[in-house]
Symmetry: C2
Subunit: 460 residues, 2 copies
């Protein structure tokens, strides 16, 4: 079977774009999800065109070989991990920005275009593509579509799905379809483009993406930070900002473990007795921004911030945001395995969830550092484990499951923006329940009856 499909692929792709050497193939077999399993691939196919993708999927379908599509491999749930005997379809050569249309405020790109490259191309036209996952310098639009990626700006400006107007997709039988539209609105038929977003390559292979763009922002943001000695005080600050009708463009949280790591690495002088640092930005036009920033500052103080600062100076604002930006790199300096969580809670339950995470860390004897998109309740507890320590790994994986259970218990969801992949499959089953899981299986079977496309992901 694998020889047959290889022969078919050889007729489709130039030799240098059909990888079979194990050392060359190895980096394509998994994403960045710690300890997520993966199988061996028959080959890695690197098509450059929709026609090549269609031919590859057709060949795989004919031979009953699974197709696992991947972008840059920056995923954190194992969604792009190879399944045994699959062909890995890498979109890395599909990097054309096909079109930026300022009159219609849209862009058309191939799936392998890197998020930051789209943002830079849009900026040249005075336009802005808001979704900004932390992986934006490396991750691809196709991968962002596959996981419905979020980021810092989505608290005010929405996630990837909110920007996808149309998709070109290769279906499980190799047929090429266009879903969605180029117009600002449209309701013809079911929202199949929206269905594809977040489906992790299990319903089709995205070969072109049309996204909405917004006018570029022209005002310098104002930054507000607050240090809080207790989790409830920080939770109160988040609730007060929401209740006051404020709409920060960024609203982030960094916990004490992160603050200490940044201090240890960069001598940043951040107060380590604070339980939580909240960082917010407003991007309203002036003087509304000044007013909104002052209101956030006042709410932080009213909630009991031990310290709160306002800044308009971009350099100072950058420095304040370093605590957020440097948290992950600082934790990486510790040289430990890092397992990232992605639960999303109702805003009013954030403090309670943070307390649960502290309890879980203590109970499971695991170091957990948390950053969060506070404004939309999306928490990223990061579990740190010594490499090669199996007992610690098992405790960490138990803590991971505990956090998932706590999120469901508090009315949250098991994944806010990273996707189900492999790591959240059990959690997804628990959250969705059997009837909704059955709907998923029915939709999957309807669009991929032979189960060729990224089998076993999202719903096992």
């Amino acid at each position: 079977m694998s020889d047959d499909v290889l022969a078919a692929l050889t007729a489709i792709l130039p030799r240098q774009h059909l990888l079979t050497d194990p050392d060359t193939v190895a980096p394509y077999l998994h994403d960045e999800a710690e300890w997520a399993p993966h199988g061996a691939a028959v080959a890695v196919a690197r098509p450059a065109t929709t026609a090549e993708v269609a031919a590859i999927v057709t060949a795989c379908a004919a031979h009953g070989v699974p197709v696992v599509t991947r972008g840059a491999g920056t995923g954190l749930s194992g969604g792009a991990n190879a399944v045994e005997g699959c062909v890995v379809l890498s979109t890395e050569r599909m990097r054309d920005i096909v079109e930026i249309d300022p009159a219609e405020r849209l862009a058309v790109v191939q799936p392998g275009v890197v998020n930051d490259d789209l943002r830079a191309a849009a900026a040249k036209e005075g336009l802005w593509y808001p979704p900004d996952p932390a992986s934006a310098p490396w991750s691809t639009i196709g991968g962002n579509v596959a996981t419905n990626a979020g980021g810092l700006c989505c608290v005010k400006y929405g996630v990837t799905r909110d920007y996808v107007l149309a998709l070109e997709v290769v279906l499980a039988d190799g047929e090429v379809v266009r879903l969605g539209r180029r117009t600002a609105k449209g309701v013809v038929g079911y929202d199949l483009a929206g269905l594809m977003v977040g489906s992790e390559g299990t319903l089709g292979v995205v070969t072109e993406v049309t996204v909405k763009l917004r006018p570029a922002r022209t005002t310098a943001p104002r930054t507000v930070v607050g240090f809080f000695d207790t989790l409830p005080a920080a939770g109160d600050a988040i609730a007060r900002v929401t209740a006051a009708g404020l709409q920060p463009a960024i609203f982030e949280l960094v916990d004490r473990v992160c603050l200490k790591a940044v201090n240890d690495w960069k001598r940043a002088g951040l107060p380590e007795d604070a339980a939580v640092l909240l960082l917010a930005q407003t991007d309203l036009p002036e003087p509304a921004a000044e007013h909104e920033a002052a209101q956030m500052h006042a709410e932080f103080l009213a909630a009991g911030a031990s310290d709160a600062l306002l800044s308009t100076d971009p350099v100072e604002a950058e420095a304040l945001f370093d605590a957020r930006r440097l948290a992950y790199p600082a934790l990486e300096q510790l040289g430990m395995a890092m397992l990232t969580e992605d639960v999303c809670l109702p805003r009013g339950r954030i403090a309670e969830m943070l307390t649960r995470i502290e309890e879980i860390a203590a109970h499971r004897d695991v170091v957990i550092a948390t950053v969060a998109h506070a404004g939309d309740g999306n928490l990223h507890p990061l579990m740190l484990t010594p490499h090669g320590d199996d007992a610690a790994r098992i405790r960490t994986q138990a803590a991971f499951d505990d956090i998932v259970d706590a999120a469901i218990d508090l009315g949250g969801t098991v994944t806010g923006e990273h996707g189900v992949g492999l790591l959240k499959r059990d959690g997804a089953l628990r959250e969705l329940g059997p009837a909704v899981v059955a709907m998923h299986r029915a939709v999957k079977a309807a669009l991929d009856p032979r189960g060729i496309l990224n089998p076993g992901k999202v719903i096992a």
Copy 2:
């Protein structure tokens, strides 16, 4: 069969909520789509609870009887029209606003809640539900969800789908499921809640809707109007506003036929030599609103407006908007049958489409009055036909098809916000093409294998 299902329904609903008298049933058999066909119903069922809806659908499924769900019946595509031998399920008694949660900025409502009632309840909490179809005083949230309704504000604030967080749905076999989430973000599994939005009751019966709310707007809007003697000049003004990076909260178009009708009815003194009136509002905080309004005014003049006005006075602004608000009522005074179109074009093709509409009106000898959501390219040409004139009706229906074809030809879509229903089924087949239609049929068969939910709508 109809006796059997009636017996079953009698056991579910009190007698006064199971209508069978033909005169009582008649108003439930169709929506407001002119000349859209409808069949006779076995009964009209008026459940008050999810459990009753589930029992009704279960009974209908057991007897192979179609279920056609309807809200207020204000639809314009025939989506809620009875099919022969169906049970019409009216949500009119499901009017509870279950919850408004200011901390999470969301509302939970039954599907029969009227759009304006939700908006009023949200306003009491300092919150705002933006989707504002022209039917907002009568149409229900369930109907808005079924058609993915838009409105004036969606040019800046998005359509119904952008606000639906979660749905409770009764599936084709009577099972009750919850889709979506209460959190601000979430990517667990496929976006089945989004799939339900706009599916016109063909995939499930929505029994509860959870929507996002925004903070209420506090600034008085500034209004800009421009009169244009030619369609290309108006098209240029729309393009210039977009190219300048402006984001009006409302951006509407009224054509000369509407202006004359409003003048004839209200002696409004609008200039009848203008081909088009453009109306825009900005809702930015001051002084950004003043600046944006001045920019729009300047772009209108640069595009060749014969007259352009700026207003901050709410009374004066209301008067200026009367030309838009009164257009339909004024046309109704003419006492003719009214068939409404709903095509949506790329913004850059609006002038060309308006020219095509004028040509079609002349060629088919039909009076066509056009209002449009100019900012998102959504045109509502309204065809006026003397009642009882069969030849005129046939010419009008031909003009309807011509407009649909022209929209597809210019890269648009056949329905921007009214839905496919019955009137746009042929157009949808032409726009989507056989492969995407096959995907629709596969999804429909997966979720409603016996085809009992609003059969024949969206995709025949």
